[in-house]
């Protein structure tokens, strides 16, 4: 193809590439930048919505009932769990590109146009519920990984299940799953490119439109890749900052002095482990 052709004239290409990119940027930078913007907004919004869906589903999946609860409550909880599981399995287990086709073309077809989304809404819906399916599992795992002692500590001071979740378990879960949220965001930045199938104009669509008109495949690919990389790197940096923000400062300030402990006076216990004295 074009790329193997390029290898045979390696010397020439380096200078050509620079020229071609400059030409491309002169002619079409607004389209690429608009594509990048739409990619980024779609990815960020859909990841956020997906996180909320995932949080709800993750919580629903950890609902418990005790033997003494009423039958209706038990049935209700079980039905909810089955629905959530089906949702997770279906949307994790099928390609997003087909989900887009299904929702954009399939829903109007099945409902004789009673239910139809425009392109932009369809794109947001598909990426959101797809992300939600992944996040549901992440959140479920995150909740299960919190030490049982945290729940017991909360129950022991009289907090109910809901208060325990909101005040104690979910904040710690959220902190622990930030890396996964970052993963999903980055995956979404890249994978929203499949939305070209329903005609959503994001970065990859800008690339396709430009090369369709000019045949500058490789220069355009270089530019497009660079833009994707910049977006993903910036996003992962921002997520790191968020983690640091949640963790708070490494040290704390003593209000006065501890009167009871002989061993105090140290402002920082990094791991809680201490050498035994003598």
């Amino acid at each position: 193809m074009y790329s193997s052709l390029m290898l045979s004239r390696a010397g020439l290409v380096a200078s050509n590439l620079g020229d071609d990119i400059a030409k491309l940027w002169r002619e079409a930078s607004p389209q690429y930048l608009k594509g990048a913007r739409d990619t980024l907004i779609l990815a960020v919004v859909a990841t956020a919505v997906g996180c909320i869906i995932g949080l709800l589903c993750g919580i629903l999946q950890t609902l418990k009932y005790s033997k003494s609860d009423f039958v209706l409550k038990k049935i209700f909880i079980n039905v909810i769990k089955v629905v959530v599981r089906v949702y997770v399995e279906v949307f994790r287990g099928t390609p997003m590109i087909l989900q887009a086709v299904f929702i954009y073309f399939g829903l109007p077809y099945l409902t004789s146009n009673a239910l139809r989304f425009d392109v932009i809404t369809a794109a947001y819906v598909v990426v959101s519920i797809n992300t939600g399916a992944y996040m549901a599992e992440t959140v479920r795992g995150g909740i299960l990984s919190i030490d049982r002692g945290q729940t017991e500590g909360a129950m022991a001071i009289g907090m109910n299940h809901f208060q325990t979740m909101v005040k104690v378990i979910l904040p710690q879960t959220l902190r622990n799953i930030i890396p996964q949220i970052g993963n999903n965001l980055i995956i979404n930045i890249k994978d929203t490119s499949v939305m070209f199938i329903i005609g959503y104009a994001e970065l990859f669509a800008a690339h396709k439109a430009y090369v369709g008109a000019t045949y500058l495949y490789f220069p355009s690919a270089v530019v497009t890749m660079a833009i994707y990389l910049i977006m993903t790197v910036v996003c992962s940096l921002l997520l790191r900052l968020w983690e640091h923000f949640i963790d708070g400062p490494e040290n704390f300030n003593l209000a006065t002095t501890d009167t009871l402990a002989l061993t105090s006076g140290m402002n920082n216990f990094p791991s809680g482990k201490r050498r035994r004295a003598r």
């Binding site: 945290q150 017991e152 129950m155 009289g158 704390f252 003593l254 501890d258 061993t263 216990f269």
Partner: protein, 246 residues
């Protein structure tokens, strides 16, 4: 003395395994009860049943005469009157020391921020942890964590405090600071049930000692009764084993 808790014929099995068998005892206001016994004898399970962290298989637990095992008693509300201090502290890792001591007051008791904070600081002062209000649990030593956990329980102003081996997870040099706090509470008249392997504490601080063996209360009495004049062979053997270990 007014009776706070009356435990009647309490039994608990895990599957086929009976862990508590027909336990009977009462707790009156101001009592400090130490529960001693070998590992696996059911001491933690008993405390956890009293706090409804485990559901008893049979029997009754009367709190001021009301059976808390009946369906229409709300477990969270009851638990807010019965504090618990765990071996592994169980401080909320996502909150500062201060927040650990205010969150229950705010969410469960519905107190205002100012009131909850003032109250928390009062109890943190009592356990000598007031200087650490801004610290996160991971920045504290074990002894400090346990003292905060005690303050957290106290801040709910419970009627009775349960301790499950509060010093067993601590390095030896930190045991003293926690026991000192507990002694102070006992002196102030707090009603406490303490599961412990600290025999000196059981002997010196408690008003009553319960020796548990294999899921039953084997012997019960004043510290003198149990430590100086034990009646049962099992108790004697347990205490002898303890002395040998040093």
């Amino acid at each position: 003395m007014s009776v706070i808790l009356d435990v009647k014929h309490l039994s608990k099995s895990f599957g086929e395994n009976p862990v508590l068998k027909d336990i009977d005892f009462t707790v009156s206001k101001g009592e400090v009860i130490s529960i001693i016994g070998a590992s696996g004898s059911g001491k933690s399970t008993l405390l956890r049943c009293i706090n409804l962290l485990e559901t008893p298989s049979a029997g009754e637990i009367l709190y001021h005469g009301e059976n808390i095992l009946s369906r229409n008693v709300k477990a969270p509300r009851y638990r807010s009157h019965v504090g618990m201090v765990f071996q592994s502290f169980n401080l909320f890792n996502n909150m500062s020391v201060l927040k650990n001591c205010t969150v229950g007051q705010r969410t469960v008791l519905g107190k205002s921020r100012e009131e909850a904070t003032a109250n928390a600081v009062k109890y943190l002062e009592k356990v000598g942890m007031a200087p650490y209000v801004n610290a996160k649990p991971k920045q504290l030593s074990g002894g400090q964590k346990q003292r905060v956990a005690i303050a957290r329980a106290l801040a709910m102003e419970p009627e009775i405090l349960l301790f499950d081996e509060p010093t067993s997870a601590l390095d030896p040099e930190m045991v003293g600071e926690v026991l000192a706090v507990m002694k102070k509470l006992a002196d102030d008249g707090m009603t406490m049930i303490v599961v412990t392997h600290e025999m000196a504490f059981a002997k010196d601080v408690s008003t009553r000692v319960i020796y548990m063996n294999d899921g039953v209360i084997c012997e019960e009495g004043t510290p003198d009764d149990v430590f100086v004049n034990p009646q049962k062979e099992e108790t004697k053997a347990f205490l002898a084993r303890f002395r040998d270990k040093g």
